[in-house]
Symmetry: C2
Subunit: 132 residues, 2 copies
């Protein structure tokens, strides 16, 4: 196959946009919850929805807050301390960009299935190795 290697598009499947800040499993869970509840969630609701311990959630929120992707507001609800978490505008924008990369992966993976029953479609699913 050596003669085809020069035709393989370098980095065709590299997905450089899969930022590790977002791609970590627990943070992906947190961000999807926060993008869904756009007005924000309390710390305890977020822990529950994501199935995370308080310690784990706290650790990951620190990473996200340091990157200015979420904002944490500490206050009181009556006499009880209350922490709320919400995406920042930049966090929402960048998470959308990350999700666009996930969509691209799903499209790339689905291309093979489209070709399964059709040899005519096969070249389309081999974007890097024309005629291989």
């Amino acid at each position: 196959m050596a003669e085809n290697e020069s035709e393989a598009r370098i980095g065709r499947f590299a997905y450089e946009g899969l930022d590790r800040v977002f791609h970590e499993k627990a943070r992906l869970s947190i961000l999807t919850a926060l993008v869904t509840y756009s007005e924000g969630l309390s710390f305890s609701e977020l822990a529950r929805l994501c199935g995370l311990t308080d310690g784990n959630l706290s650790r990951h929120l620190d990473v996200l807050a340091e990157a200015a992707l979420v904002k944490i507001t500490k206050g009181f609800e009556g006499r009880r301390p209350h922490t709320s978490c919400a995406l920042t505008a930049n966090g929402r924008k960048r998470f959308r960009e990350y999700l666009t990369q996930l969509e691209k992966i799903l499209r790339d993976a689905a291309a093979q299935e489209d070709a399964a029953g059709s040899s005519a479609a096969k070249t389309r699913t081999r974007p890097g190795l024309a005629g291989a």
Copy 2:
């Protein structure tokens, strides 16, 4: 919000199916390439398509081969050593299951956007906190 916490579905956004074997960025890249080229790829083509160094690719292929998700075949093409890589049937099946989880994340994240212009649709996008 304390009164709503009992209504928040535990683990609604936990995505337990995001197996770390698949979710690691470089391995996700490798597996998407292999699912696209169902007849397999040479080691050098795979490195090029995924934008990985030989060392990095080798390390991640070891993880995938140990989990019996890919099979590595070492042989010769003429006089040159030639290594080829392909998904196993089980690897393909389990990667599909992983992709189904990614689709779920995209659906969950998209639900919020659907609601942006429609208060009628809003309750649908708040699956864990009915009436919140």
